[in-house]
Structure formats: structure tokens, C-alpha cells
Symmetry: C2
Subunit: 710 residues, 2 copies
């Protein structure tokens, strides 16, 4: 380590600030793009207002929730206030932690708001730009996504750096991370339910029942559908990756702080160094990104990702030469292993959802015989698709642990290796978010082009951009789930270290050994095993509630659409001046989503507390493992099966197996509808659910240790 | 323990023999029942021949497989033949184990054959008896099922007693159990694929496309469908429960033998004692069973189960007074906890599949809006339904472990408690099998009554019997999965004891400590964790292959049905003398099932070997846990969702939500079709898959310990 390790913290702050500058410049640039079409502007405004209304109502609910939690933290965490010996302790622990929690919430929400604001401008500008051709339209869409990418990762890195520099306390950092995650949980769930409620209803009413195009302005759910893309895919996803990123930091720093003490070397600056280099590489990648001469947007997105990955490896290798810490190459190797395997998992996952490969084509073929076969063959591929990613995570963990283990020859250095692999996978997350947020922007642009009555040629351009978004999404999703998987494994390690820190303090205070230090979690210990089995059910129960939420709300909205087509005269016939009541659909989606998200969140948290107070820290260790194992499986299965069905439908629509209007098409649309809440509500929310539970475990460690029944 | 502990072994043998006598008497009684209708006899014969042909072809494949495995065992297991020091060791270990393996196969196959032979007689007799009313018909159906129940449990108990008495070696017993399980795996998978291939094709072609009744003789797949009920539900399920039962014995005896040595008291006779009392209680229950004055068959089946449970508790309490072993009440308590929780889980599971409860009715209602909602709401309930059973197993394990732990204050006594809970749950398995095998018999009878042209009144009687079978099936399935869950947990404990036995022997032979004894499996150990993640994917991959098998074969068969209706003149119009080519459909189902079952079985076994030789015994410990956790979840989800969809369809057919022919009905039929391979192929096969993997782990322990990379 260079003597002045502050240089790495300064690097982190500088790079975050650069990312904000880039985001600001892009934002200004997008705003300057021309927009003339009055209809596009009108509809764009409806979408923007719908998204803002939803966010406002959602945040109003979440503020109340966050206030209650802040108060609870203040009184109980990390140590109940009446057990603190001095006001300094209360200040440095309880007050700092509650402030950190609030800050986590605020930054996470801010990332979402920024994303929404940009996306709801970029969508109209992108539709207009499509008139000039694919290259300018791509640029608008991608830069829109990049603003989100820069904001999410910049805010995360800056937040973590500031909180850590001010407190030097990893437990407080876990509190900050918990704030980010609990907001992400609700944003993801609420947005996910909203978007799929609207999407399913719009699709079924439009394509299946009335046989009108996807974004026909007569469809009462069409605005809600476009709002959903923003609140679900942009704001929700942004909060989600903000949370994974911060959680990976928090876990790694927690483990590193223990290891640093043991080795008497401060390892934490390395974490900030690598993370800053990752963001730097992403910034360069984003700025350099442009569509090639072949005009292929998928190619442009992918090559930007590869460029970023390459830059990151070069940067870190160079910097590692300059660092003076024993075992540094082991740390770097663990980091690079994470990034490498992440890429491989992304590519493997792509196999199951890419329409040039067998799975999508076979499911399209099976659809010829009816929807039962669409669902069965998709389920079969979905189950299978979990294998490469989970085996990949298994191998990564084993390798990263083995590589890092010799640093200290303890479980701490091994787990540090795994957590650095997570940091490695997440190093290019700014790039991933940019690619991901690009999707809903161009999807919206497509809808706007159609509703604005632009030419067929223009719509085709937006179609092509949209299709590239879908292809890339499959890869980035595999990447995001794997990174979250490694993160939660690291959080399990962090939990162990937190417990042992507390055990040490308690025993020292008592003057004798009352609490035993944890050396691990034996899965044959009945309390651990109890935790594992109960933990294994949580992602399933959580998913069940989310799917039920979409299911119930979509049924309501579908009835509302039927009502409007029956009662509003001239709507079906597209009589000029007759508009559907878009806001009724938006209200149904909003109210429904807010009702359901509280239940799903509450169940998860309550069961965690129950298991903790019944079985104590050992049961919680098992509980986290059960969560991770079944959660990873379900997240992969649902995301991949959903993507597969979506692309099979598109494959049929592009003229295969009978094409649009055929029996196969009807079956494929049903498959897609089933896949919608799988891939965009339940699947991607599970990550966040596991992270929240893991963080609760860590920050409640003292209470679970001292107050449990078993 | 009474001084002469042989009394308990004699008890076991006597009770098994009594069960054979009861089975034989019932069989004779069934054979004596009248049968006059020529058409029923003709079709009954077609079914019997179809079932026999399938079994013959299946066993022909399995004999080859078993021969190869026998040879491998002879050479390698439990110790490679060239490492044995004397011929006596080879005889007592390798030769005995291969013989035990063969015996396990043979008895398991025999149980299946007996079941099929009885079921394919009882079906025709039951159809005829229905002319006299529900009470005689119920008696024929239930006694038919009981023959199977008695045979399965009697053969299992007798086999285990004889193998143990002759060898006194629990490792050999694990080999016997492996024989039973590997045959069960193939029987379950092969039968499951066969039955659902035929069922789906018959349903889709009949109900959806041609709008003819369920068992219309014009349908070319109708005989294959009825054959499938026998080879899947009777033979497959019989082999499955034979395997669970034997595996629970083997695991318990393995653990008990270690514990007995430590305590210097022989605990094994108690296991035989309780198991014998369970079979005795079941025999009395079966004989006493009759339909009450209210004529309700569901009530009759359930009250028989409760009677058996009550008798078992009374018997064991009384006998335990006579036993003279310290800690005997703890052992009894663990056993009774298992039985009690099993019953509670059964009842809870029933909630999700009973048509008088909300889930089934809500799914029927959701179907009004189309199949996407049928699938989504069913999936949501299915995910949720795993919670009570898994939490129940978690609580049972924790309680049984805690209750038994003080016997020796080690993990061994704790795990002994869990394994006794499994024995307790399985104590009334003869009753469960009787109830379960009753289902396909009356289902067949219903089909025969229709094809034999019996009166509407008679068909209604068989309908009522069939519906009772379906209701009870949900409860017994929950029971069977929970029992299998506890059994595989016990097998994990048995694996640990096997490894430690080997570690002891190896170290003693070497004269120094080369291998460390296992004290458990730490889930933060990277090798264990690697095993957990890979193990977690196996039930999913396995299910994926099974669903794919059904999916592919049903598509083939559906095409064959279309061909017959196009090419065979007069078939559609039911011209007298024109019959479809039933055997073509039977051949498709048979060939397809045999092809798919080898792949699914092979993948499971190969991955287990890979993980064992890469990560050694620790990785295998994790691998088993991953298997158990995801396996339990998937088994519960798929069985319950499938049952739910099946009953929703029946609920709609009984006139709700638009009734037969409505949009809701079409959607519900699609849901049922999707649920078919879930509940009757993949779901119930997972138990057996996990058991096979667990047993391979135990019998390969020496090789995994000494030859692994990590």
C-alpha cells in the first residue's frame, strides 16, 4: 500500500464526481435534441406525469415506513440504547446508523428519480431521432441509459466512501446498505407489479381480444404500460443495482476490516481502488460507445461491454503493480475471476433466450400444439437454465476462496476472496445499468413513434433498437443475478464476522467467555438446519405474493378495459377526439402495486425476525443459506423462462411457425403473459429480497445472539 | 430391552408374513367377484396386456443396468476388491453387498408386479361391482389397493429383517436400499413419463379437439391412458414407497448401530419393533375399513387412516412400557412427533388442492379470463404451498433432534431422533399405499364402465369413488413427500456416520491419523458450499428432463392420434366394428419412456460422482443438502400445483364458472395438462432421485474419501 492511502479515497470521490459530470453533460445533450411532433409530446407528457405520480405515491408510503425503521434503529440497533454506556456511543452507533440508514434510502430514491426524469425525456427524443435513422436514435437511447448508469454507480461509490471515511465503522456501512436495500425492495416490487399489471392487460386486451397493434392509442392501458416500463424497468432496476453494488461494498469492507486487523495492513483502500477503476472504465466505455458502420445496435452494446471489461483488467493490473501489499495478486485474481465468470454466465444464459438458438425455436414449435406445450417446454428449459449459472457461481466461489485463502489461512481471507469476486463482477455495473436502462427508453420510443403516427420506416428503426435491448437484457440479467448471488454469499461471511466481533466485545465486557465465537455453520446442527429449511421457503413465498399481486391487479385492469370499450362510444371505431380514460388504468396499477408491496415486504421481514429470535444467530446463518440457494434457483428459472417465452412470441411474430394470428401465436402470447411477472416482477426482485434479509441479519446480530430461545 | 431381543426380529417376520396372508386372501376374494360384461373383459384384457408389455420391456432394460451395477459393486464397493485382505472380507463385504443390491431390485420389482396384477383385475371387478352400488364397489377398489399396500410394506420389512439378521452390517443394508431405490427411480420415471404422455394426449385429442367424453373408445390413446394409470400410479408409486420405507430403515439402522456401540445397548430391535407395530396397525385398519352408512368413500378412507394412526400410538406406548432401555420414551416421542407432524402436513396440503377451499375456487375463477391466469394463480398457490410442509419438516427435525439429543449428547443421538421421526411417519405406510393404489383402480373402473356401456347411474358411482381417490391422494402425497424428506435428512446423518466409520478403520490400519473425522458440514467451507450449489440444481435438471420427456412424447402421440382420425375411415363416426390402433399409442409411450428414463437417471448419477471425486466427502455432504432443499421445494410445488389445477378443472366441469365447454373450462384443461407431468411425473420422482443420490454417497464413501481432488 502506498504510504498515503488517502489517495484511493480521493480517487473514489473524484471518479464519482466525474461520473456526475458525464451524466449532466449527457442529460443537457439529450434535452437539446429536437422534438416537434405534438402528439408525441402530448403522450410523452402523459407518461412522464403518470410515472411521477406513481413515484410520489410510492415514496409517500415508503417515507412512513422508513421513519418507523429509523426510530427502531435509533432505539435498538446495533445495541439497545439503554445498554449503551455513554452518549458518545449512542452518537457513534445508534445515531450514526439511523442517519446512514436514511442516507441509503435517500440516495437510492434519488438514483431512481434521476433515471425516471431522464428516461421520460429520452423516450420522446429517441422517437424523434429515429426519423434521422438508427445511429442518432441509438445515441439518444444509449445516452439516456448512461445517465442512469452514471448516477446509480456514482451515487453508490460516493455514498459508501463518505459514510466509511466519516465513521470508519463497517457496521454503520451495513446500516447504510440496509437503507439502500429496503428502498430497493419496495421500488422493485412496486414497480414490478405496476409494470406487469399494465403490460399484461394491455397485451391481452389489445393483441388477443381486439386484435389491435401493441401500442394503439385506443387501448386504455397503453399509457399505463409505458409508465410501467419506466417505474419498473428504470427506477426499480436502478434501485436494485444500486443496492447490490452498495451491499457488495459493505460486505467486502466488513470482512476486510477484520482481515486488516489480523494482518495489520489496511486492505480497505484496495476495494475503493478497484471499484473506482471499474467506474472509470465504464465512463470511458460509455463515452466511446457508438454504433458501427453495420448499423447493428446489439453489436454496439456488446462491444461497449467488452471494451469496459478489457479496460478494467488493464487498469487494475497496472495499479496493482504500484500497490505494496502482500497477497495483492491473490486479491486481484479473485476480482478478475469474478468478472470473467460473470461474463461467461451472461453468455451461457443468452443461449436459453436467444432466438437464433434451439430453446426459443423449440418452444415456438411446441406452441403449434397449444399453450400447454408452450408452458411445459418453457418450464423444462427454464429449470435447466439454472444449471450453468449456479454451477458457475459454485466454481467462482470455490476458486476465489481457494485463491485468497493463503493470505491469512482462515475462513476470513477465503470469504474476502469471494467478496472481491463480487466486487469484480460489479465493477462494470455502470455499463450494465446503462445497457439495461437503454431498453425501456427505446421500448417507450417505439410506442411513442406508433402513437405519434410516424412512418412505418421510423417504427422499424425503433423496433430494431428495441430488439437489441431485449437481447442484451438477457445477458445483463444473468450477470446481475450472479453478482447478487456472490454478494449475498459475501454477506453471509460478513454476518459471521459481525457476530464474532460482538461475541468478542460481550465476552471482554463480561470478563468471562459466555458466548462462543462462530467458526462456521454446521448444516447438521438442528438449529442451522431448521433455519435452512425455513429460509428456503422465503423466496418462494415472496414470489408467490408478487405473482398473485400481478395476477389480481391485471384481472382488475382487464375488466376496466372491457368496461371502457363497452361504455365509451366511438372508442373501438377510433372516432376522432374520442380518448380512453388512461388515468383509470394508471390508478388501478398504482393502488394495486402499493397494496401488494407492503405485504410481500412485511412477510419477508417478519419471518426473518421470527427465525432469529427462535433459533438465534446459528439459525439465521442457515436461514440465509436457504434463502440464497432457493432464491438463486428461482431468480434464474423465472428470469430465463420469462425471457424465453417473450422471445418465442417475437420469433413467431416475425413469421415463423405460422406467424401472427396463428394458433402458435396465440399460444406464444399466453406463454409470454405467464413469463411477464416471472421475468420482470418476481425473478429480479428475489435478489433484493435476499440482500435485505442478509443485511437485517447483520445489523440485528447482537439482538439475535442475546435474545433467542434456542 | 428384554433379554431375548430376537423376539422383535421374530415379530417383524411374523407380521410381514401376516401381511402376505391378508394380501393373498384379498387377492382370492377379488378374483372371485363376478364379471360378466364382455366388453369390459375385452378392454380389461387390453389394459392388462399393455401394462405387462410395458413392465416386461422396462425390466428388460433395467436388468442390463442392474447387472452392470452389480458387477461394479462387486469390484469396487464398499472397498475395491484388490484392497481387501482376505476372501472372507470380499465375501462379507463385496459379495454380500452385490447380492443385497440384487435382492433390493428384485423385491422392489416384485412389489410392482404384484400391484399391477391385482390392479388390472380389480379394475374390471370394481366396474362390475358398481352395478350393485357404491359399497361393494368401494370394497373391491380398496381391497385391490390393500393387496399392494400389504405387499409393498411386508416385502420391505421382511427384506430388511432378513438382510440385517444375516449380515448384521448396516453398510450392506444401504446396498440393499440402493437396489430398491435405483429400481424405484427408473420405475417411477418410466411409469410417470408413460402415464402422462398418454393422459395428456388422450385429454387434448378427446376433450379439447374432438369434444368426446374422457374414456371414449374411439380415442386411440384411451387404452394407453388406462395402462398408464397402472404402470405409473400403481407400479411406480409402489416402488417409490417401497424405496422410502427401506431407505428410512437403512438410515436409522446405520445411525443406531453407531449409537448402540457408544451406549453399549442394542437399539436396533426397537426400530424393528415400532415398524412391525405400524404394519400390524395398518393390517387391522385395512381389514376394518368399510364405507359408512352415509356412503361417503372419502370419509371411509380417512377414518381408516385415523384408526391406524391411533392403533399405532396405543401399541407403541404399551410395548414401550415393556422395553428396558434408558431413553426409550425419548425414542418413542421422536417417533410419534414424526407421525403427528406427517398428519398435520397432510391436512395442510389438502387445503391447497381441495375444491371446497379457496385456492381451487380462485384458480377456477381466474380461468374465466384465460389460461395465462390459470397458470399464474396456480403457480402462486403452488409456491406458497411449499411453506407449511417445509416449515413442518423443519420443526419436526428440530424437535425430534432436541428430544433425542440427551440420549448420548452427540450429533449421533440427535440424528437418531430425526431418523426415528421418519420411521414414525412411515409406520403407517401400508395404509398410505392402500389408499394411494385405490385411486388408479377406481379411475380405471370408471373408464371401463364407460367403455363397457354401463348405465349413467353406474358411471356416477365410479365417478364418486374416483373423486374420493383424488381427494385422499393429495393428503397421502403430502405425507409421502414429508416422510421422504425426513428420510433423506436421516440419510445425510447416515452418510456422516459411514464416513467416520471408514475414517476410523483407515487410521487404525495406518497406525496414524491421516484422515480427519467429520464433525459436521460447515456451510461456509468452500468445498461444502460448492457441493450445496451444484446439488441444488440437480432436482431442477432432473425435473427438466422428465417434463421434456412427457412434452416430446405427448407431441408425438398427439400427431399419431391426428393421423388415425384422418386415415381410419369411420372412426370419428363410431362406425360399428371400427377400432383405433391402440397398440401404436402404447408403443409410442413405452419407447419414449424408456429412452428418457435412462438419460435422467444417468445425469443424476454422473453429477454425483463428479462432485464426489472433485470435492470429496465434504462436497458430497453439501451436495446432499442442496438436493434436499431444492428437491423438497420442487416436489411440493409441482405436486400441489398439479393437484390444484386438476381439481380446478373438475370444479369447473361440475358446473362452476361456466361449466363444461366454457372459456374457463378450456383454460382449466390447459392448466390441468401443464399440471399432469408436474404432479405425476416430475414431482413424485424427485423423492426417489434424492434417495438414490444419498445412498450412492454412503456406499461410495470410501472412494470419495480417498480419491478426491480437493
Amino acid at each position: 500500500m502506498p504510504k498515503n492511502k488517502m489517495i484511493f479515497y480521493i480517487l473514489a470521490i473524484t471518479v464519482s464526481l466525474i461520473s456526475f459530470v458525464v451524466a449532466f453533460v449527457f442529460f443537457k445533450w439529450i434535452n437539446k435534441q429536437p422534438s416537434e411532433n405534438a402528439e408525441i409530446l402530448r403522450v410523452g407528457k402523459l407518461i412522464k406525469n403518470g410515472a411521477r405520480t406513481f413515484l410520489k405515491r410510492e415514496y409517500a408510503v415508503l417515507v412512513k415506513f422508513a421513519l418507523v425503521v429509523t426510530l427502531l434503529i435509533l432505539v435498538f440497533l446495533p445495541t439497545p440504547i439503554w445498554k449503551q454506556t455513554s452518549f458518545t456511543d449512542i452518537l457513534k452507533e445508534n445515531i450514526f446508523m439511523s442517519v446512514a440508514y436514511v442516507l441509503g434510502n435517500v440516495l437510492s430514491a434519488l438514483a431512481g428519480v434521476i433515471g425516471i426524469e431522464v428516461a421520460t425525456i429520452a423516450n420522446t427524443k429517441c422517437a424523434e431521432a429515429a426519423k434521422q435513422g438508427i445511429r442518432p436514435a441509438f445515441k439518444v437511447g444509449f445516452r439516456g441509459g448512461s445517465v442512469m448508469g452514471m448516477a446509480v454507480v456514482g451515487l453508490g461509490l460516493l455514498g459508501v466512501t463518505v459514510v466509511y471515511l466519516l465513521t470508519k465503522n463497517s457496521t454503520i456501512l451495513l446500516g447504510f446498505s440496509f437503507g439502500a436495500s429496503s428502498l430497493a425492495l419496495f421500488a422493485k416490487v412496486g414497480g414490478g407489479i405496476f409494470t406487469k399489471t399494465a403490460d399484461i392487460s394491455a397485451d391481452l386486451a389489445g393483441k388477443v381480444e381486439l386484435d389491435i397493434p401493441e401500442d394503439d392509442p385506443r387501448n386504455p392501458a397503453v399509457i399505463a404500460d409505458n409508465v410501467g416500463d419506466n417505474v419498473g424497468d428504470v427506477a426499480g432496476m436502478g434501485a436494485d443495482l444500486f443496492d447490490s453494488n452498495v451491499a457488495a461494498f459493505a460486505a467486502t469492507i466488513t470482512i476486510a476490516s477484520v482481515l486488516s486487523l489480523k494482518l495489520d495492513v489496511d486492505l480497505i483502500p484496495i476495494i475503493f481502488c478497484y471499484a473506482s477503476l471499474g467506474l472509470l472504465a465504464s465512463i470511458i466505455g460509455v463515452i466511446a460507445s457508438r454504433i458501427g458502420k453495420n448499423g447493428n445496435p446489439t453489436h454496439a452494446l456488446n462491444s461497449t461491454t467488452y471494451l469496459t471489461t478489457g479496460l478494467f483488467v488493464i487498469f487494475t493490473v497496472l495499479v496493482t503493480f504500484l500497490i505494496n501489499v502482500e497477497g495483492k495478486w491473490r486479491i486481484l485474481l479473485a476480482t478478475v475471476i469474478g468478472l470473467g465468470v460473470g461474463t461467461i454466465i451472461g453468455i451461457t444464459t443468452d443461449y436459453f433466450t436467444n432466438d437464433t438458438k434451439k430453446p426459443v425455436q423449440n418452444v415456438a414449435k411446441a406452441s403449434e400444439l397449444g399453450p400447454a406445450f408452450t408452458v411445459l417446454s418453457g418450464t423444462s428449459y427454464g429449470f435447466l437454465s439454472a444449471f450453468p449459472a449456479m454451477a458457475g457461481i459454485a466454481v467462482t466461489s470455490l476458486l476465489a476462496y481457494t485463491v485468497a485463502y493463503p493470505i491469512d489461512n482462515t475462513i476470513t481471507s477465503g470469504m474476502f476472496g469471494i467478496s472481491m469476486a463480487a466486487v469484480g463482477m460489479l465493477s462494470i455495473v455502470a455499463m450494465i445499468v446503462s445497457n439495461d436502462a437503454y431498453g425501456p427508453i427505446v421500448d417507450n420510443a417505439r410506442g411513442l413513434a406508433e402513437m405519434g403516427g410516424l412512418d412505418e420506416e421510423v417504427i422499424k428503426v425503433t423496433d430494431e433498437l428495441d430488439s437489441a435491448g431485449n437481447t442484451v437484457k438477457a445477458i445483463t440479467k444473468g450477470f446481475a443475478i450472479s453478482a447478487a448471488g456472490l454478494t449475498v454469499i459475501s454477506l453471509l461471511g460478513a454476518f459471521l464476522e459481525e457476530v464474532n466481533k460482538i461475541v468478542n466485545t460481550l465476552n471482554t465486557d463480561l470478563g468471562y467467555i459466555k458466548y462462543e465465537a462462530l467458526t462456521g455453520f454446521d448444516l447438521l446442527d438442528p438449529v442451522v438446519f431448521f433455519g435452512i429449511l425455513v429460509g428456503a421457503t422465503i423466496p418462494a413465498v415472496f414470489s408467490s405474493l408478487l405473482i398473485r399481486g400481478v395476477d389480481r391487479n391485471a384481472q382488475k385492469m382487464l375488466k376496466e378495459i372491457h368496461r371502457q370499450f363497452t361504455e365509451i362510444e366511438g372508442l373501438k371505431e377510433a372516432k376522432p377526439g374520442v380518448h380512453p380514460e388512461y388515468d383509470k388504468c394508471i390508478t388501478i396499477a398504482t393502488t394495486g402495486a402499493l397494496n401488494e408491496l407492503m405485504i410481500a415486504g412485511a412477510v419477508t421481514i417478519v419471518v426473518t425476525l421470527l427465525v432469529g429470535f427462535i433459533g438465534g444467530v446459528k439459525a439465521i446463518g442457515g436461514f440465509l443459506l436457504g434463502n440464497i440457494v432457493v432464491g438463486l434457483f428461482l431468480a434464474l428459472y423465472m428470469s430465463n423462462a420469462g425471457g424465453l417465452w417473450d422471445n418465442s412470441k417475437k420469433y413467431v411474430e416475425s413469421g415463423h411457425n405460422g406467424g401472427k394470428g396463428s394458433e402458435a401465436h396465440k399460444a406464444a402470447v399466453i406463454g409470454d403473459t405467464i413469463g411477464d411477472p416471472f421475468k420482470d416482477t418476481a425473478g429480479p426482485s428475489i435478489n433484493t429480497q435476499i440482500t435485505v434479509v442478509s443485511l437485517i441479519a447483520s445489523i440485528m446480530a447482537l439482538l439475535f445472539l442475546t435474545l433467542s430461545i434456542f
